[in-house]
């Protein structure tokens, strides 16, 4: 049983949703980034999504674009992101998803990426710009099945395509809440519920919903119709607003606890 399978089973037992926290690795610098991650884990975040900074993040809104730029300015790379994952793994059993655009992985090489990810204790990978049509080229280079491959589903994805994506996915499915970029406004919780229901009808894997989720109310609403909620830009905004504040980890922890509390449905 993988860490992710164990986690979703345990949460189901407790009638809790998963809180998935996205952080751009190395933002604003590697040390602070590790402190932020520790604070999140202590606050009860269920899954960490570790974002690999990229120069051209076309699926991301301005907040994550800037976080990516800050991390790159500090010399962050895919390799250093995996080193950060290893640091987390030494201290915690929290599942970690490496979240990346394809080009940094292509530059490292698919085979090496798999081996280094497994060695760093990562549990899964989500490659945002690698749809099912193109993902074979990466997966064919993997020498084992110790990494789950998280796939995206969008509100515009037809149901048949959803089913095909689900058949090919592992770990969990990432349902994009709206047709927009990360951190967009205008989350429509009713539409999310309808899309999540449509997806769950054709998919056995847990479903986590992301994009535009920033408040505890969003989290609790999402956890009623799906298995978890992903929060990213809201954390990154907090980091951006307190770049030089000494109490950034405490602020992150308080925010994460409030969001985690909202996942508890009992």
């Amino acid at each position: 049983m993988t860490r992710l399978t164990r986690l979703f089973a345990a949460l189901k037992e407790k009638r809790e949703g998963a809180l998935v926290a996205f952080v751009t690795a190395g933002d604003p610098d590697p040390e602070t980034s590790l402190a932020v991650l520790r604070a999140m884990i202590e606050a009860g975040v269920d899954i960490i999504e570790l974002g690999v900074p990229f120069s051209d993040p076309t699926a991301d809104g301005p907040v994550i674009q800037r976080s990516s730029a800050r991390a790159l300015a500090q010399g962050m790379t895919l390799e250093k992101t995996l080193a950060l994952c290893r640091s987390i793994r030494r201290e915690s059993d929290v599942p970690v998803v490496i979240f990346s655009y394809y080009n940094p992985i292509l530059a490292m090489g698919g085979r090496r990426f798999y081996e280094e990810s497994v060695r760093s204790g990562a549990d899964a990978v989500l490659v945002v710009d690698l749809p099912p049509e193109e993902s074979r080229e990466l997966l064919d280079q993997w020498s084992g099945n110790r990494l789950d491959f998280i796939r995206l589903v969008a509100p515009t994805t037809p149901t048949e395509r959803m089913a095909a994506i689900a058949r090919d996915a592992s770990g969990f499915l990432y349902l994009v809440s709206m047709t927009g970029v990360t951190g967009s406004a205008g989350l429509d919780l009713e539409e999310v519920a309808a899309t999540a229901a449509r997806l769950k009808h054709v998919a056995a894997l847990p479903v986590c919903v992301g994009f535009g989720i920033s408040q505890p109310e969003h989290v609790s609403a999402v956890c009623r119709t799906a298995d978890g909620a992903v929060v990213g830009s809201a954390f990154e905004r907090l980091i951006e607003e307190h770049l030089t504040a000494g109490d950034l980890p405490e602020r992150i922890a308080r925010y994460a606890s409030a969001l985690k509390a909202a996942t508890r449905l009992l």
């Binding site: 990229f54 120069s55 051209d56 993040p57 076309t58 699926a59 991301d60 809104g61 301005p62 674009q65 730029a69 790159l72 790379t77 895919l78 390799e79 655009y101 394809y102 080009n103 940094p104 992985i105 292509l106 530059a107 490292m108 945002v128 710009d129 690698l130 749809p131 049509e133 193109e134 796939r151 995206l152 589903v153 969008a154 515009t156 994805t157 037809p158 395509r161 994506i165 994009v176 709206m178 047709t179 927009g180 970029v181 967009s184």
Partner: protein, 410 residues
């Protein structure tokens, strides 16, 4: 789609014989191309692909497209024998394919009229575009005005400064120019922003990509709309000289004018030479020679050559010509390079400026700085070849837009 039917001639002469270089059904040219986008865009790309597939096999669509090209854009453009330039170089005979004489002053209009027609067919009421030099933005704004569509053009803040007259031109045409300050504030960032905007507006908005770049079906579709350049040139040179040319020369940024010229000649014994921007020199690192000095990567939804660091981060490109200042290149060019069918060379800012002046004074034609790169290489190539040989250079655009830059640097 089936590669053997992909380019089947319908009623119009401009969609000629099938060519083996058509992409596979998922848009791959050999190992290049494809669709590397988030799932949020996939349904839109699949819908676009289906709509384009139905349009390309519909004679009425071709008829409407060619009527626009002829009656609105001023096609066919002439093929001009450059007598004095040929004498100056003392070698092969140089012909110029005069895309500078097309409406809006560059080849870009061919593609934007085609895509606007497709947008209307799909029931879209708004169009968006990215632009570098502003030529594609102007051509999109022009087509949008003609079709009565709302138009939004994303343009890097650096380019807004460098190409102020084109910004005013787009605004005059009724478009809204959205300055993009993220990243390097140039064409690649404008394209990033256009893709982000498109995701959120995909229901009523058509994204008019300006080059043979981006995810499938764009590289194929833009090439199909631009092949009118090559189809005309082929016919014109056969009429004029009674034989095919020895080589074609065109500048390559994203590569649409080159692809448009090359495509109808792919199966002919004709040399294909793409000219990239060497900027301040390849060894200075300040260049835009993606095919010559880049490596394989994924940018803006397709796999091709890109300028990148060893960690897979995209590098800033540099060229005096905003239209060539792009760290990627169309996937079909990557395939033509890899398969050995075309060769790619690079020309510096200084060489392009020299050719800009030479063509102006010898032929009375002021070329766009982009096209001046092709002219610069053609002058060298002509000098190496015998007077029995024939070169066709794509004069992809006129240079009025570049006077500000040229008089600062010349």
């Amino acid at each position: 789609m089936n590669p053997t039917t992909a380019s089947r001639p319908v009623s119009a002469p401009s969609f000629g014989a099938p060519v083996q270089f058509s992409p596979d059904p998922r848009g791959h040219f050999g190992p290049f191309g494809g669709r590397y986008v988030a799932e949020t865009l996939m349904p839109a790309l699949l819908a676009l692909e289906a709509a384009y597939e139905s349009a390309r096999t519909d004679p009425a669509f071709h008829e409407a497209f060619h009527a626009l090209l002829n009656e609105y854009a001023g096609r066919p453009t002439p093929l001009t024998f450059a007598r004095r330039l040929t004498a100056h170089c003392g070698g092969a005979r140089i012909y110029l394919k005069r895309e500078d004489l097309a409406h809006t002053g560059a080849h870009k209009i061919n593609n934007t009229l085609g895509q606007a027609l497709l947008a209307r067919r799909m029931g879209k009421t708004k169009v968006i575009a990215e632009t570098g030099a502003g030529q594609h933005g102007v051509a999109t704004a022009t087509a949008a005005a003609l079709f009565g569509m709302e138009c939004r053009v994303f343009m890097g803040t650096e380019d807004v400064k460098r190409q102020a007259p084109n910004v005013r031109r787009m605004e005059l045409l009724g478009a809204r120019v959205v300055p993009v300050s993220s990243g390097t504030g140039t064409l690649k960032d404008a394209m990033n922003e256009a893709m982000r905007y498109w995701v959120s507006a995909v229901r009523d908005t058509f994204y008019v990509i300006g080059s043979v770049a981006g995810p499938h079906p764009y590289p194929m579709m833009v090439r199909d709309f631009q092949r009118v350049i090559g189809d005309e040139a082929r016919r014109q040179i056969l009429e004029r000289e009674g034989r095919l040319p020895d080589a074609l020369i065109a500048c390559v940024g994203g590569g649409s004018n080159a692809m448009g010229l090359f495509y109808p000649f792919l199966e002919d014994p004709v040399g294909l030479i793409g000219v990239e921007a060497a900027g301040e020199g390849i060894d200075t690192g300040k260049h835009a020679a993606t095919l010559g000095a880049g490596s394989i990567g994924v940018l803006h939804g397709s796999k091709s050559y890109v300028l990148q660091d060893p960690e897979g981060q995209i590098r800033e490109a540099h060229s005096i010509s905003a239209g060539l200042d792009y760290p990627g290149v169309g996937p079909e060019h990557a395939w033509l390079k890899e398969s050995g069918r075309a060769r790619y060379v690079a020309v510096t800012d200084a060489q392009a400026l020299g050719a800009f002046r030479t063509l102006s004074t010898l032929e009375g034609i002021i070329p766009a700085l982009e096209s001046a790169h092709a002219v610069a290489y053609a002058m060298e190539e002509a000098a190496r070849r015998s007077p029995d040989e024939i070169l066709i250079v794509n004069l992809s655009g006129r240079g009025d837009k570049d006077l500000g830059i040229v008089f600062r640097d010349l």
